[in-house]
């Protein structure tokens, strides 16, 4: 499953659980404040072992439930090993201080920019409906590739390549950012992710084959 729907359902679940717990705690506090007014003497009871044991079991059950959804959702977003479906488009992404370089190895296209003051941002152009496989690395320090729209990010290490995959079903243009502090101009290290129709993509890639776009 793609990152975003998985994120959305897991987030909704945990938000609801969190809201319920928060609500219960606040209600109990309000109750405690109200009952306190009627009380002339504090309660002498300092233990309720049976209740506590039950409560610990409930907590373990709840934590077990949340962590099982955590494990299942994380398994969901791993790229499927099945060989069927369209062949992914591979893009090599290099992060550097302080911008990005996208290399399309089959077409020998390189897209880069300077990101100076948030201008001259490079655009990662991908077709809709086809998986995009990113090979992510860094030329210098640790950076992080984040596209908030996708609900996904991954760190870019020097001397190490991370691989991940996503598919965009509709056309659009979204902002991507560096989200690991990488030095002086970290704040401006943005890029665009643009999804175009497969025809437009074919056109774009044959038009620019073998060139460097800046």
């Amino acid at each position: 499953m793609p990152y975003r729907p998985t994120f959305d359902s897991e987030f909704a679940l945990e938000l609801i659980i969190a809201a319920v717990i928060f609500g219960i705690v606040v209600l109990l506090m309000v109750y405690a404040l109200l009952q306190s007014r009627r009380r002339t003497e504090p309660s002498q009871r300092s233990e309720a072992k049976g209740l506590e044991r039950t409560y610990v079991l409930v907590l373990i059950g709840l934590a077990g439930f949340i962590l099982s959804t955590s494990l299942i959702s994380n398994a969901d977003v791993q790229p499927s090993r099945a060989a069927d479906g369209p062949k992914p488009l591979v893009v090599q992404v290099n992060a550097f201080q302080w911008c990005w370089r996208f290399t399309y190895p089959t077409r020998h296209i390189v897209v880069t920019g300077t990101c100076i003051q948030g201008h001259d941002l490079p655009t990662l152009v991908v077709p809709t409906g086809r998986p995009v496989r990113i090979h992510l690395t860094s030329d210098d320090v640790v950076h992080e590739w984040w596209v908030p729209h996708l609900r996904y990010k991954e760190e870019a290490f020097p001397n190490w390549t991370n691989t991940f995959q996503f598919t965009l079903s509709s056309k659009g243009d979204w902002i991507g950012r560096c989200s690991e502090f990488c030095g002086l101009f970290h704040s401006f290290m943005d890029f665009h992710l643009e999804a175009v129709s497969p025809q437009q993509y074919r056109q774009w890639s044959s038009q620019h084959a073998g060139t460097t776009l800046t």
């Binding site: 506090m29 934590a63 994380n74 908030p148 760190e155 991370n162 502090f181 990488c182 401006f188």
Partner: protein, 565 residues
């Protein structure tokens, strides 16, 4: 057996440490010297109370210092495309703010409070290894001085963030003496707290008064014990990580393989996660004591709370990997399981809070207000922590303002509120003078408003895509309004801290005496002695009462109440 000789008339005359080892002669000489009230006597004292107060006072001065840096940052971020300071200056500010708050403010405040209170609460006349504690304080001061030097190196103050990832922080990408001094400073400050925590741990385990069995120690003392356990177990890892960094600065070409970069992250977080609990548990202890005192009952679910604290400390060593979910080089599922399981002992602690409240007669004193606000506010930090421990959610939240909101809810809305509860509660005990309650309430109200106005919006703009550690953000992305709200909130926090400082100054001038137990509510041993306590904590006029439970003074009050009525 009478190890102490004093002049007649001294209230310490008939002090006889029961069963406790006789005080070494050096201690007695030191004690005589310390009857001088001069500055020199203070800063060379081996009295755990003075060292504890010095440590806490120093850390509070730094709280204001590094808080002011945060106000400058928030001013810069109030509007899109902010031009108040340069990106470089912003990077220096958040590095100094974050690392300063952790190394020089909240950790020393936590350990200093343990050093002050633990010997009193277990009925010990002094701390184990008092000279080591004095040495630790000065090591901490040395670390702070080096830290300030690093901040004022004109050419290159440190600017790699509080976790200073490699290779960004090495000699190639962050050249200059500032960063090197920063590494030295963090080693000194962290090493200092490690030693001090070791002494507190030793004290709690080996120097308890007769009758004070482990399961009669106060909740605060237990929280101090687990804090010190985590400190001695995890802090060495930071010293190792910083050593690695040091080598990387001398010759950046040594570490050209990825293993070094990721190993640094692991080593760092092996310290970096437990330290957030070190900065948290003593203040949970404060909240627990304050809740018990101002509901007038014994802390509810004591033994479960103690086991939960111990389980928490053990578990805390196995969760560090949740900081590296997005590296592609971590066993995410394993660390997700361990981290989410920690919500079980956390839930048990909440059981104690709420159970104590629900049967109590609540008195809304200033410490109680801070303790009450702690409960829902920290809960927000804790519940969002479960989200961050879920890999698919962290793939979005990592490195964003959502995380900044989360950890300020735990550290500020949680720990610091607990710390204020403790400060207001024990201030009269430690100084013998009282603080103003109306000013305290004003301090509290402003603090609650400011904290939530500042940090709640951060969840939203973090969710919407604003990375952390950015010196500015573009207009048109919709981040402007919420950021402005955060900035307004930050200045309200500033105002509330000014009220606090004014409150301190005012009582220092008025000097209204406190009495032994100004709240009429103390349950633990420190409230049986004078305010401030004598040099060896208890004396003939203030003997250690019989200890039959974790609330000996409450037992005493109930027994006398029963016999008279």
């Amino acid at each position: 057996m009478t190890a102490i000789t004093r002049e007649p008339g001294d209230p310490g005359d008939s002090f006889e440490p029961r069963d406790v080892e006789p005080l070494p002669p050096g201690e007695i000489a030191a004690a005589r010297f310390e009857r001088d009230k001069g500055l020199l006597a203070w800063v060379t004292s081996t009295d755990h109370k003075r060292i504890g107060i010095l440590t806490m006072a120093t850390s509070l001065v730094f709280l204001c210092t590094f808080g002011i840096l945060a106000l400058i940052m928030r001013t810069q971020l109030a509007q899109p495309n902010g031009k108040v300071i340069s990106p470089g200056a912003y990077n220096e500010l958040f590095t100094l703010h974050g690392s300063g708050m952790i190394f020089l403010v909240l950790t020393p405040l936590a350990i200093g409070l343990c050093l002050y209170l633990v010997p009193l609460q277990i009925g010990a006349p002094m701390v184990a290894a008092p000279r080591l504690c004095l040495f630790s304080y000065w090591l901490y001061v040395a670390g702070a001085i080096v830290f300030l030097l690093s901040a004022t190196t004109v050419t290159a103050p440190p600017d790699a963030g509080w976790y200073a990832y490699m290779p960004l922080s090495d000699g190639q990408y962050t050249p200059g003496v500032g960063m090197s001094l920063w590494i030295l400073a963090s080693m000194l400050a962290v090493g200092a707290m490690m030693l001090m925590a070791g002494a507190v741990l030793w004290t709690a385990l080996r120097m308890r008064a007769p009758g004070m069995s482990l399961m009669r120690m106060s909740v605060f003392t237990w929280s101090a014990v687990v804090t010190c356990l985590m400190t001695v177990a995890s802090f060495p890892s930071l010293i190792g990580a910083m050593g690695l960094q040091w080598v990387g600065r001398v010759d950046p070409n040594l570490f050209t393989h990825d293993s070094w970069d990721i190993a640094y992250q692991y080593l760092f977080w092996f310290y970096g996660h437990p330290v957030v609990y070190v900065m948290f548990f003593p203040f949970v202890g404060c909240v627990a004591e304050v809740l018990a005192a101002f509901t007038g009952r014994k802390y509810f679910g004591y033994s479960f709370t103690v086991y939960a604290l111990l389980a928490f400390a053990a578990g805390s060593m196995a969760v560090f990997g949740h900081h590296t979910f997005t590296t592609g080089q971590t066993a995410n599922d394993y660390f997700s399981v361990t981290s989410i399981m920690l919500s079980v002992p956390a839930g048990v602690e909440y059981f104690g809070f709420l159970g104590t409240l629900m049967g109590g007669r609540i008195r809304a004193t200033v410490p109680m207000l801070f303790a009450l606000a702690f409960i829902p506010q920290f809960l927000i930090g804790g519940l969002t922590g479960i989200m961050l421990a879920t890999p698919v959610l962290d793939y979005h939240f990592h490195g964003s303002y959502f995380v900044v909101a989360h950890f300020h809810y735990t550290l500020f809305a949680g720990s610091l509120f607990g710390a204020f509860a403790g400060l207001y509660y024990w201030f009269p005990k430690a100084t013998g003078i009282v603080l103003s309650e109306p000013l305290g309430r004003l301090n509290f109200v402003l603090m609650v408003i400011g904290t939530n106005v500042t940090f709640l919006p951060m969840f939203f703009y973090g969710f919407d895509g604003l990375p952390r550690r950015v010196a500015t953000y573009p207009a048109g992305a919709g981040f402007g309004t919420l950021n402005l709200i955060s900035t307004v909130g930050a200045f309200i926090i500033g105002l509330s801290v000014m009220v606090f400082v004014f409150n301190l100054a005012r009582s220092a001038i008025l000097r209204r005496p406190a009495g032994d137990d100004p709240w009429g509510a103390g349950q633990t041993l420190e409230w049986a002695t004078s305010s401030p306590p004598p040099r060896f904590n208890f004396d003939g006029a203030h003997p250690i009462p019989p200890i039959k439970s974790h609330a000996p003074l409450l037992d005493l009050r109930q027994r006398s109440g029963a016999s008279s009525g």
